[in-house]
Symmetry: C2
Subunit: 568 residues, 2 copies
Amino acid sequence: MKLDKLVGNRFRERPSDCVVDSHVYMIRGGYMKQVANGIFSSYTPLKRVTRKIEGILRQEMDAIDGQEVLFPVAMPAALWQESGRYDSIGKELLRFSDRNGTPMVLGMTHEEAAVQLVREYGQSYLKYPFMIYQIQTKFRDEARPRAGLIRVREFTMKDAYSFHSDQEDLQDYYNRCHRAYERIYARVGLPQVISVASDSGMMGGAVSHEFMLLTPVGEDSIALCAECDYRANLEAAACLTHHRRDPVSQPLTKVYTPDIHTIEDVCAFLHSSPEDSCKAVVYQRSADDSYVLLFLRGDLEVNETKLTNYLGCDVHPAVITGESSLHPGYIGPVGLPENITVLYDRSLEGRNNLSCGANEALYHYTGLDMARDVPNAQYHDYAKIQEGGVCPRCGKAAITISRGIEVGNIFQLGTKYTKAMGMTYLDKEGESRYPVMGCYGIGVGRLAAAICEAHHDENGPIWPLAVAPWQVHLCAVRADDPQVREYADRLYRQLESDGVEVIYDDRQVSAGVMFSDADLLGVPFRAIVSPRNLKQNQVEILSRDKTFRTAVPLDAAAQMLAGLVRQP
Amino acid sequence: MKLDKLVGNRFRERPSDCVVDSHVYMIRGGYMKQVANGIFSSYTPLKRVTRKIEGILRQEMDAIDGQEVLFPVAMPAALWQESGRYDSIGKELLRFSDRNGTPMVLGMTHEEAAVQLVREYGQSYLKYPFMIYQIQTKFRDEARPRAGLIRVREFTMKDAYSFHSDQEDLQDYYNRCHRAYERIYARVGLPQVISVASDSGMMGGAVSHEFMLLTPVGEDSIALCAECDYRANLEAAACLTHHRRDPVSQPLTKVYTPDIHTIEDVCAFLHSSPEDSCKAVVYQRSADDSYVLLFLRGDLEVNETKLTNYLGCDVHPAVITGESSLHPGYIGPVGLPENITVLYDRSLEGRNNLSCGANEALYHYTGLDMARDVPNAQYHDYAKIQEGGVCPRCGKAAITISRGIEVGNIFQLGTKYTKAMGMTYLDKEGESRYPVMGCYGIGVGRLAAAICEAHHDENGPIWPLAVAPWQVHLCAVRADDPQVREYADRLYRQLESDGVEVIYDDRQVSAGVMFSDADLLGVPFRAIVSPRNLKQNQVEILSRDKTFRTAVPLDAAAQMLAGLVRQP
């Protein structure tokens, strides 16, 4: 098509509200426009990119025996009540009522709808395994949409649901889908995407992986081991500490510690280190504001995902009132008020000679011996793994923390949904059993943004050929020159009839404007027809990333371009 | 793919809640499943049909210079307040609030979103005309969803919006889009679809057409002239009557009419005919219950669309209370209480010697002369055109009324939205002007249902090749026979490698089950491999509609089938 007719404005100025490059270029390049916070309309260039991504997703899902279906965007709340998620999910699930007052939700994921669709079909073991998927609009009422298409409220997602007669079959299919995902990322130009172990969160199930594009602008933190292949989302990474117990336990001794406010103050005053202190962090359960007290080694931080998974409910940092008998800044494990949930991180297990609060204003203890002084403590992992921390797989202190964009996830859901929703099948022996499920998601818009994050220069996106909005950007510099016009028009028609996707710029604008627009559209190959080139009977052909540049005779240009866009 | 693995159940029983054939077959054939009233999930066969329809829509929209975009499903109410439709549309617009309490709507159409997307782009006359379209999920909270995919609440729609610098350009493009729609219907197998003049309803604008598939199960009524090419939705068809004024006007005479309840009673009692009576119909405005009194010729009915368009507000049939001073059954135009809106249908204009109510219990008038007795009456068209009525175009009494399914609509919107939302452009002379808009919709699921209504037999759908879920249905009868298995497997692989879309039934079920499943899937061509055929070294090939049936040598089957599915 002609660029002249392409709806959408392109401009030079960096929009002030854009913090990541993909957002900048998608606004500056006329790819999309905000309609509301976290809700965008797409112009044609972005629509063409996402359609190509969707085509690749469809091919790879079909290749692993997926069957494309379509679930509704608006669903009755009753369906989500069956699974229990209507109550367990927070405000990101958008709830509303229809004209008859029936409670409804906007689909943010479709496990319930998938079970509803196949509940009658999957009644015999002979039907298994099977996988259904859709590419559909979803809505997740995010509290803080950000970074353009990276975190939005409304988005298009490919979500797939597989059903199996047993865990072993699920594991096989899960691995197969993992490989399909690797092919997808390679095909869209992101072979560097890695999978990391993840927390299953509201989806339920035991095993799950996220696919991450490592980039400083990502909003996830990932723990990577420099010594082995361990990699996990920070939320899910186990935190190990090398325990060290002093040979001799000192007695528990109360110390007057005035003007002490932080763990660093305590350590400085007592001439000890944070590793040798027992820190208290106080939360409240969101439902009833009851206190949850967590002790962990002074240099560690709480991993709130682990904490809420353990508790099975949401919590928030506590606001401590006078009635609580807690003394903020002086809380320790000895002499606590009763009726408070108290948890101990495993970084404290077996430790002695620690400092801690004395549960009395202005006083701390030294010489805390966990085994001696808190004999009934039960230890779990509630701490965040840290840069330089111990790898849970190889045990070496070689963990590094990187940022990443999650561009896909896969979950082994087990029987969470089939059990809750009463979906059963008869096995070979005629026994009634619950099918096990897996689910597999990729957000289309976020993937487009991630591709742009990985492939751009200071002038705009550099779309990989497989997802580029067009394949060739044809520039007629000085289209008012009859020879330029005549040749460029002919080349345009030739390319179109060869099935090449061409965007043709025959506007009478300066070469500078023309090329900066071309950079913003990020089309992989560019052909430049100009009076200067024509004098030499040549067309200039270059790649968007400027690594390839050549001049070819006029009558060879169409063939060369057709060859370039057909390269594997 | 193998039918054995196709998710979804097929069965023989006619579901009791299905009133139209397309609904019956889409449930019986495993095409879809209801999730809530008017909300369905699609299985793979339907998804494949709708994807093919979407492909055709995309091609034809691109061919008339459309640019595919994507608007949000969930939009801020503020956008709909700009156009005024947030208040003017009833409960079919689903309103809700997001987590921050911001009022939102679910998109049922996207005029506002279209204007929002191009408001900055379209600031110069040089940008015009342009057209943008999307294929996207929509939600319309229908009071009475019915007939499967014919009237649903959630649906996929192709909606297009064109922008023009003047009405003449819109008219040209409107005609071009009309022709594109004709091509679309022809390509999906419905060349018999006709366009009819329609009421613009909540969309606004002056000129609009609906595309109708005539069928007794349709929910729209269409007036067609047997003598000329006039055709219009009943809602929009002008009602003309041949006026007849008696040479001599009788005096207005009050008559005692006991036990009179209907217009027929009155006429029998007075020895007159309904054509010679003046009937009263009473409505109330929905907003404040104020009365609206409409008089029309006794044999005609009220066209409520015309009435509400004239009033500019919703009305409902009146509940007449004692305080109103109205005498139900005896209401007439002479001696009415004041403060009531009174309207006169043009069927009464110039008439005399009519009977009518006397606004007094048990009394009627005869000898009503509209000009003499109701001198200030203003006449408009509020009546329904009738079977045998007068054609508004050729004037002959040749109107027939047919039922139809609306499978598309096109509207000339004028400046309704651009004016309300402040979208302007500078014309050649530098004057600021409002662009004029057109909009063009086709519901994908309803079109699939309409195709099924037009193409089926008593055993299931007969999908036209262009939209069929698969092209060839391969049946291996007695797949336990090694020769059948070996040949059928080979033919399957051959067809797949030739790019033919095959559904392969190699289940060990009876030929009866196999063929009735094939009838329900409605695939245009069927190949039957069986021991009996193989003995003759033949494969049986037939069309789903049974008009074509042949036997071909084994080694010619693949080629013949590939040829059949490639026929133009």
